[in-house]
Symmetry: C2
Subunit: 241 residues, 2 copies
Amino acid sequence: MSESSLSLRRRRASRGRDDARPPQDRPAARAKGNGERAATRKGDGDKRRRAGDKRDRILRAAVKVFAQSGFHATRVSEVAKAAGVADGTIYLYFESKEELLFSLFEDRVSKLLSFMREELPKKPDAPARLRAIIDMQLGLLEGERDLAEVITVILRQSTRLMKEFAAPHFNAYLDAIAKIIAEGQATGAFRQDVSPHIAARAIFGALDGITLTWALGRAEQGALGRAAGQLADVLLRGLAP
Amino acid sequence: MSESSLSLRRRRASRGRDDARPPQDRPAARAKGNGERAATRKGDGDKRRRAGDKRDRILRAAVKVFAQSGFHATRVSEVAKAAGVADGTIYLYFESKEELLFSLFEDRVSKLLSFMREELPKKPDAPARLRAIIDMQLGLLEGERDLAEVITVILRQSTRLMKEFAAPHFNAYLDAIAKIIAEGQATGAFRQDVSPHIAARAIFGALDGITLTWALGRAEQGALGRAAGQLADVLLRGLAP
DNA sequence: GCAAACTGAGTGAGGATTCACTCATTCAGT
DNA sequence: ACTGAATGAGTGAATCCTCACTCAGTTTGC
């Protein structure tokens, strides 16, 4: 029922290349309506084949297109066009449209998570860490509006991604926040009477909400930074013992 | 943006109605272009069709199925089956799958909004109102997990609904919260150095985030109520001057 | 016996994916 | 150094499958 079970398995898996294509040029080739196709697209000669940047180009194009149209409304061919690549090429690098979104997300989020893992321990105490998280999340997205939109909006459009893939990441993130809060409670920096988990969810939600309206709205430069500061102020004051 | 134009278009070359219809007008059934179908139905007092509960049955089934599978993965036929109705019947009551989600949302949200409009003025001051909003939003959803999931998750899956329909409601809601905060600042109940709008977004986000994880998770009874109390405590303390 | 209400098999748009084919590049053999 | 066979990345039109929606027909209520 859930789309997961259905879409999970590639259907292409079933096809076996039965053809062992003999190294011979088939003379007739595709003599459909268009006699010959020698068209060298895009005259520019620097289009080096074998360019190792295909995957990246596709990913970059995908962020843009997904952000613009949403996951379901995005046509794979649009992404291909935006990346300057043929439809089929996308399938050389990604299993499916879903996996494309998936990779995109993973690419960036794992970067954020590892960055956090490195930076946080440098902060002296729980309040400083909490503030760092807020700054980090909003700061990261400030410069990349498309990415912000992909993460906050688009990702939720694929139930499967949401449930199977994103959930673990979210939980890891939430746990990290919760841990900081618990820590602060232990050292007496935060009040005891709030559940770290609830607080973590609320904080994440607040960040998400701010990002969302920012991404969907006019997205003024600097707005997220300002918001981060205020949010941190309110939260830290509210959490103080 | 582009999704709207795409998904709006009926698949079949629909006769008549070339709808760019604003979210307000809800043709309760597919009125096929020229008024030959004189079904006078709307509001809620009628339903003098044979089985007066069809529309309701469909809506109820839709909440369940949408919540389970997400908007896109939901097959209209699934909803029909769940409602104990033929596929076609759904189209007697709703224009399209999208309009089904739409109606669902409108049905419930307008209830919440009007409830708020009635209850809030009874509260003595800004802090009390803020707390009331928090309690209300979480309280409303506590008993209706499916609905919670539809609102927090599913709704975002239709870019068009999100942008065209939900956004105004969201904004109205956000404005209401922002107004309360501004009010509190004017009376000296809240600190001055936070933007009411940013605070409103953060609060809404926090509520949304709590609801989301609750809905996607195990959804323990009573958890939302507890969360509401704690969230309100933290926020009110954080917002105090 | 008619109209309203309902049914559900069928239609066809649409779009993801495939695969037969192209051709730049590589490299063993000369 | 040259050659041409082998390789495999890249292409994009054709395929093929999935559903939202339609409508000819049936049932129900009067």
